[in-house]
Symmetry: D4
Subunit: 153 residues, 8 copies
């Protein structure tokens, strides 16, 4: 890991399809040198994968919320496993973290309607060990995965 590698990582976070040629031009490295470095980062698992970023609002998924979950924490793994299995029409789990607070799980959910969101919350509440949920609107997203989503706020 040197400064070149870090710069390559930042470039690929911002644009996972940036050509090695362009990266090389900016860093003053040859294309093969960039290629070799990217491959090393991938092989080492430092670059875990590439992901398409989808504009879900174009597909009608205009409801974007954060749900906090309070659980019987002794069954943490089972609860996460059950959360990952929830299927509700047009409703998708996008983020799931364990937090160090009383509300120990934070989810980010996209959906097309309040009715679907309600169904998702009902599914959460059916999970054995889930004690309560609390849901908060996301009004707008400025930055995701370290890369700007909205250029002008």
């Amino acid at each position: 890991m040197d400064a070149f590698d870090l710069k390559i990582l930042e470039t690929l976070v911002a644009n996972g399809r940036e050509s090695h040629e362009n990266i090389g031009r900016v860093l003053n490295l040859s294309r093969p040198a960039v290629h070799q470095r990217v491959k090393k980062l991938e092989d080492a698992g430092i670059i875990k994968k590439y992901q398409a970023m989808v504009d879900w609002s174009q597909l009608g998924q205009t409801i974007n919320v954060i749900i906090y979950v309070k659980i019987n924490a002794t069954v943490f793994k089972n609860i996460i496993s059950d959360i990952l299995k929830i299927t509700v029409t047009d409703t998708f789990l996008e983020e799931c973290h364990r937090l160090a607070g009383e509300w120990c799980i934070i989810l980010r959910i996209r959906s097309t309607s309040t009715q679907n969101l309600t169904n998702y919350i009902d599914e959460l509440l059916k999970i054995n060990g889930v004690v309560a949920t609390s849901t908060t609107f996301i009004l707008s997203t400025i930055l995701q995965n370290g890369s700007a989503i909205i250029d002008s706020v």
Copy 2:
């Protein structure tokens, strides 16, 4: 948008480098048909971009926190603009959303040390209009951008 398109989107969220050939095989479409559909999704801006997912913990960034920010909301845009300009050694902003609560900004931050995190919080507090911050540990991440990070919880 049909069921094929939706399946293609889900595949590319899970793996942005999945070959059109493989996608076609699963969906029973020809490679060129997949190619054309992906291009349409990209041209329509439904696929906004591709991003490398980096395993920052391998680079020593073992501190992963959520920071809530309470602001003088009349200056929302300026504050976001100032947040995006913060630079602290080895400390990176990965998510930034506006929420519909009293704590109206949520940030996700990675850093290498408590000292750097403290410096980041100090920079936040220097921003004109930031009233208070509150920081919470992420103990583990199960899913990010709609794609599993940890296979076995």
Copy 3:
């Protein structure tokens, strides 16, 4: 639905007994045209019903409170059903919504005395699945069902 329909709806929310003649005069429509539009809105269920707005304080119901209810949400429907069955002397449920928070039910209650209100809360607490309640005074009402209650605040 056009601008005329929307204007008719707003008029009937403010005054459900406004004559079609008056509405027509304001909108520059004939009385039968207004009649036909109102009928369509009623038939489509867009106008669900008409309700008398009663000044309960004149009938001694000077206590007007909001009660938040925390429940075992897996039994949501049964709990709502039990709440709707509560009968306490001179004490009336006026609003009941499900919220997306830990306190997932919000009630608005009118009563004639603290004693009756206490009895209502006791009935709530007897319902299987109700975990806790929290009650807040309404000091004054400015607007209800989209229509001003108090002209001068």
Copy 4:
């Protein structure tokens, strides 16, 4: 005010268009007797008005939220006056009460999109004396103005 009057009030809250004939039949009163009683209740201002109940979700207003407002309470009247003047596309204030808590104003708002809701919140925050807002989803409405909205929960 006797038991007949109270029964008449309850009937007209449930259905403001109930015919005097029907009411009379149920209460064992003549139609003119009902008519006279209703007129007295209206003249005394006990029946303040009649309002159409509109199914806004049919008109695309699928977002239904509660907003709590924290203010510099010394300017309470001016703030309410400013709130009543807010105009945001397709976004309507349906309820407004003063509460006896730190969050001393509760609003119920309907809107067609998160973007419009955000604009409404921005307008709230521009009002001189508004310190903070907090917004909560209504997942479903069971009862409004003392009359059932949803028959089967």
Copy 5:
């Protein structure tokens, strides 16, 4: 009840041993007239009783706290009954109210030491139906039972 009665009540709240002669002089009433009025107020139960106000801090009871209690409210009466039975060395319950919140009982307790206070809290927690307690210091008392305790704050 007239203005004289009210004035007599206020005087006896401030000083329950004020002579009827003095009260009469201030109100321009004869001593027997005052006597008769006080007797009526006592007989009607408007004056419920007289209480000595003791300066407990002189007796070493320097710890004065408020304890909030969260309970399984269905057993409200039994819990109050159990609270009234608690006996802990040099520790006294001075106030006990039922509140309309989640913390639905408020107690005021005087004690001589943190150890005794801890014992009292332990006794509270042993009561069947008590879920949690929360304790807050009283730093100073300005007014009690409508009568000033501390002349100069």
Copy 6:
């Protein structure tokens, strides 16, 4: 201070008009001995005063609330002084303590109507240094000044 004195204090808290004769009979002391002890307790200021306990609800004061006040604490004394000067029709301050929390003043208020209570809260909010108030209902009082108010809960 011995066990006799303590017993005398408890008796006079429960009933400030208990005759010395009765007290003596219970404690096996002569009437003059009781008289002398009570006088000593009064002279030492251990018995500060006697107060009439009034049943305000009989006088129409059916609203009994706790108000928490958040202040700019540097002006604590002035704020208390201003609170003690508030006069609102038929509305009385019965308790006032300083607490060791963010809500650092707790008041107990009796009033005849929500309107008067609102006026009292408005007066509180006009005081320079008062930041916010929060009001909670008292549903019932079990014990006051160390003496039972309600015999059977």
Copy 7:
């Protein structure tokens, strides 16, 4: 206990290895007089023990947090006993107090990694009677055991 003793205590809190000679010079006491006084303080148990203060961050223990624990308080002693038995790699309990709040236990924990901290929290949650935990970062320590840790803040 006199002023000399108090001064000796303060000196030994700041530096438990301060020589009796130096202490004597400052207090204008002979070395044997200091010796005798220290011995008395130790014998009386006023000086309970001496402790080495270790700079754990030098040993890689860079994570320093406060954990609040909510419990079924009736089993307080057993829970504390179970907490003291927890063993997690490179993770140490440094402080443990019982508090008078709903979160009735406060712990201070040092660890080398988020993973170890997570394991510690998991062990806490396995204890019978522990209901919930909440964890907060310590960003810096200014003073510990009454003695400055950081000279320049």
Copy 8:
């Protein structure tokens, strides 16, 4: 740093006066070897200092509280500096940490009386930039600086 060093550190935290001879016997090291290791740990600053642990309750300091402080965080250093300068009779600051929450300073204070504690809180509130304080009782201390204070809970 090896296992011997770690064991030596733990021993000296539990008892800073443990003889090198005893430590050596337990670890199967010679006395000079222990001496040399301790010296290295002291020279490296891993052992920062030794501190006497005083039983303040024997000296009448029976009030032991935690105070949370909310500040204008831009002046963090000045506020800490002012806190360290507070002097109140018989009242001592024992711990002071900066936390990553809205209440960003936590203090532990010992005092002899509520009056002195009140004075300390008043001094805190006079500091420029301190917004609010909140105080919580410590009912008992089980462990301090990684060493048991109370043997039997």
